[in-house]
């Protein structure tokens, strides 16, 4: 310290000057401020210089009120490591990876559209054929515009990338139509969900694959009833061992045990899975967690998946292979669960104004055949003219209909009769014994939204007008309370669409309660052997003994007198 003091020329000058002087006082004060702190080697003087410099260059408002914070920041900056020392290491921006996948996507779509243009120029006459094979993509950008008018929708930045991503899906995968279903939030990543119809060739291929799989599947079905037969055998073996041991340990004759209980529970016959392109598996869903990454096809689901999904609540994690822990156990990973939730949402919240869709393609004869088949097809109604906004937002909701097939409690859209097989085999025997199974029915396709079950006493859908100021631009919006995040809009013309953005959770009133474990079955038939009763007390035994005393023996037979005490002992044991 003293060294620096001496070395500086001002200080030397100060020592020469003996008289009190403003300059020397200043220099003394400055010296004090320049004292280095032992811990950091920093001096207050430097810090103040930095502070003043920063305040004057940055000119933040009201520094005096936040001076402490400001001073902290200045200090912090000083401690920041200087990366230039590390031989010019270039730190890539974190966005790079995402941008690469996006770039690939844009290139793919651009090359495809260029090809299409070239082809289009050459073969304009053959355009008709071309169109039939060209996949149809619902215009997300257009629909999103209308959704945003109603107060819903995706941000612009996402919407455009999404549209390109849907284009990519049609290029890469064999799909005939693509529609944006919605977005499902997850704890780590969100899923974008696209709803598609497969091309006819791909659908045929999948159905063939499904049929192939179904053959061994039936074998399994037969195998299952055999299992209960095996179990009792094992039990018998165990029982047998037990019997062997008993005589060794106890010399008494083993008490006569009631027969061991046999479980009367039989697994329900497996409900057949609906084939691809039918019922809950009518549409094929593709998901991706970031736009630009490849779309992943979600597997078809079984009725069991839907049934279990109904009994559980869970949020998605964003990982398709995540394990599902639930009771009853869920067979499959998150991709099955996600698919099941999507099926439930699609069934409950696909709505459109009345007449928007129609059965068949407008040709009456075709319709009847389809209805007989049980799985009705519907198409856009070319004669749909639209309803007025006033009708569409009417609180009775009579002008909106479901176009999603209702999923029955069985987990299928078309009811499957579990007795069907038996009825064929032996109608005469079974009909009397087995109670008739009532077919499960749900609301038919195109039934009015007004008929939906209420949520806590209020209708399941609430209708809104998008604007009150300009009625000419008004749109009708329906918001689901059962599936928060599900919305549908319609204008007075020919536009309508529905979308779901949310957590994939259904409103449950009052709250979710997990499925209770079934009551245990009674193991033994209740009888004197298995009933619990109080042990006799000494008094009871004594009373019993006295009551059962043999009549006093005649005095003439002395030889038998010895036998009594022995018997008494035995009884007391």
């Amino acid at each position: 310290m003293s060294k620096t003091f001496l070395l500086e020329p001002e200080i030397i000058a100060a020592t020469e000057n003996v008289m009190p002087d403003l300059n020397s006082d200043l220099i003394k004060a400055k010296n004090f401020l320049k004292q280095q702190s032992a811990a950091t080697g920093d001096s207050l003087y430097d810090h103040l210089v930095d502070m003043v410099q920063k305040i004057l260059t940055h000119k933040p408002p009201d520094v005096v009120d936040n001076f402490e914070q400001f001073s902290w920041e200045v200090k912090e900056e000083k401690l920041r490591p200087n990366f230039d020392l590390l031989n010019d290491v270039y730190l890539t921006p974190p966005q790079l990876e995402l941008m690469r996948t996006m770039d690939d996507m844009f290139k793919l779509v651009a090359s495809k559209s260029q090809k299409m243009e070239e082809v289009g120029e050459e073969e304009q006459e053959l355009d008709l054929e071309e169109e039939s094979t060209k996949p149809r993509i619902s215009d997300v950008i257009d629909h999103n515009y209308y959704f945003r008018q109603c107060g819903y929708g995706l941000p612009e930045s996402e919407c455009y990338a999404l549209y390109i991503a849907l284009n990519m899906l049609t290029i890469k995968e064999p799909v005939a139509t693509v529609r944006f279903f919605g977005k499902i939030f997850g704890t780590n990543a969100d899923y974008y969900v696209a709803e598609t119809d497969l091309t006819i060739e791909e659908l045929d291929r999948r159905i063939r694959e499904f049929d192939m799989k179904d053959m061994p599947g039936e074998g399994e079905g037969e195998g299952q009833p055999e299992e209960p037969d095996n179990e009792p055998e094992e039990r018998k073996e165990i029982l047998g061992e037990g019997e062997e041991r008993e005589p060794k340990t106890k010399e008494l004759v083993p008490p006569k045990l009631p027969p061991l209980p046999v479980s009367t529970w039989t697994p329900e016959p497996p409900i057949p899975v609906e084939r691809p392109g039918q019922g809950v598996n009518k549409k094929v869903y593709w998901v991706c967690t970031s736009l630009g990454s490849p779309w992943v096809c979600l597997p078809d689901i079984t009725p069991q998946h839907v049934r279990v999904a109904r009994l559980t609540v869970r949020v998605m994690t964003g990982d398709l292979d995540a394990e599902i822990q639930s009771f009853p156990p869920f067979e499959g990973t998150e991709r099955h669960y996600l698919r099941a939730q999507i099926a439930r949402i699609a069934a409950a919240t696909s709505i459109s104004p009345q007449g928007f869709f129609t059965f068949g393609s407008g040709e009456e004869e075709e319709d009847i055949d389809m209805e007989e088949a049980g799985d009705m097809n519907f198409n856009l109604n070319p004669f749909y003219q639209g309803h007025t906004i006033k009708d569409l937002v009417d609180p009775s909701l009579g002008y909106w209909v479901h176009h999603g097939r209702h999923i029955l409690p069985q987990g299928r859209t078309i009811w499957w009769n579990p007795r069907a097989d038996m009825m064929d085999e032996g109608e005469e025997e079974e009909e009397e014994n087995l109670p008739l199974v009532e077919p499960e029915t749900g609301p038919a396709l195109f039934s009015a939204v007004a008929g939906d079950a209420t949520v806590a006493g209020a209708p399941a859908w609430s209708a809104h007008v998008s604007t009150t100021l300009t009625s000419s631009r008004a749109l009708a919006l329906l918001r689901s309370k059962l599936w928060p995040g599900a919305v549908a809009y319609a204008n007075d013309g020919k536009r309508s669409e529905c979308m779901y953005v949310g957590w994939g959770l259904k409103t449950q009133m009052p709250n979710f309660s997990p499925l209770q474990l079934p009551r245990p079955q009674t193991e033994y038939i209740i009888g004197p052997e298995v009933m619990e009763m109080a042990d006799p007390t000494f008094a009871d035994e004594e009373a019993y003994r006295i009551a059962h005393l043999p009549p006093p023996p005649p005095q003439e037979m002395p030889g038998e007198g010895e036998g009594f005490p022995e018997e008494e002992e035995e009884e007391e044991d």
Partner: protein, 271 residues
């Protein structure tokens, strides 16, 4: 969300697909600016929306001087009249959690709430509650549990007054990924030194609130960075419909709640 920045912030809204419409923003800005002038608020924020069967409630917050103790909540159904919400009573805060019926959209409506935990004959079992009280209680519940701010957004001045920091430049990228950087806007419930002891770079003027990483259960907050890592989103599983966004390295941040005002008590099953 700051009323005067709604046009910018609308792109960041991300609750169950909600998007603020042009009409809503215009209406809010005109009516809330007037409300701000009438009450001499330094900050005016749009808080969110609570769905009702007949009409929806829109809620706004005015901040005068103290950003924690002097928050005033207003509600409206038509954007013409903004009513001051009464202070929530503890009793109603509890009742609003167990009320099952949806809001009607009429503040004078009375509902009956059944407390099933009590015995059949208990006179306290069935209680009346006015919708205005319920609204106030619900909002106060949400604020207490879900209203958050980034660390440094609110600072405590030496005189004990908490103000919205004018020199908040935003969290840095690594900071924004930590739950610890987000604090509850409520009078601190933990001990005053809890936060200070758990972080190395503590700052008495910032760390006087509870951080949300202490909330139970672990995982009830969902923090994601989106728009290629430039916007941090916070969502609460307890209050579906709540969101908080913060643009990294900018002072832009906002809270919004749009929902039916029901707390999701199924959270332990969800995660």
């Amino acid at each position: 969300m700051n009323v005067h920045k709604l046009w910018e912030y609308r792109e960041y809204v991300k609750v169950n697909g909600i998007m603020l419409t042009n009409e809503l923003i215009s209406l809010l800005q005109t009516s809330l600016t007037m409300l701000q002038v009438e009450n001499h608020f330094t900050h005016m924020q749009y808080w969110g929306q609570i769905y009702g069967v007949d009409r929806d409630y829109h809620i706004a917050v005015g901040i005068n001087r103290d950003a924690i103790n002097e928050r005033k909540y207003f509600y409206t159904t038509d954007f013409k009249f903004w009513g001051l919400l009464p202070k929530a009573k503890k009793k109603y805060k509890f009742l609003s959690l167990i009320a099952n019926t949806p809001f009607r959209g009429d503040i004078s409506e009375k509902i009956k709430v059944l407390d099933e935990a009590l015995d059949q004959g208990d006179p306290e079992r069935c209680k009346n509650m006015k919708e205005e009280k319920r609204l106030a209680a619900t909002i106060s519940n949400i604020c207490e549990e879900a209203e958050v701010c980034a660390r440094g957004q609110l600072v405590k001045q030496p005189d004990g007054v908490v103000v919205v920091s004018p020199n908040f430049y935003g969290l840095t990228g690594p900071e924004a990924k930590l739950l610890k950087s987000y604090l509850h806007i409520r009078p601190a419930q933990h001990k005053w030194n809890t936060n200070i002891l758990t972080r190395a770079d503590y700052n008495l003027s910032m760390d006087f609130l509870d951080s949300i990483d202490m909330d139970i259960p672990n995982g009830c907050w969902n923090l994601t960075l989106e728009n290629v890592g430039t916007v941090a989103y916070l969502k609460s599983l307890y209050w579906p419909g709540m969101m908080y966004f913060h643009k990294v390295r900018t002072p832009d941040a906002g809270f919004l709640y749009v929902g039916n005002g029901r707390k999701n008590l199924d959270v332990p099953f969800l995660i």
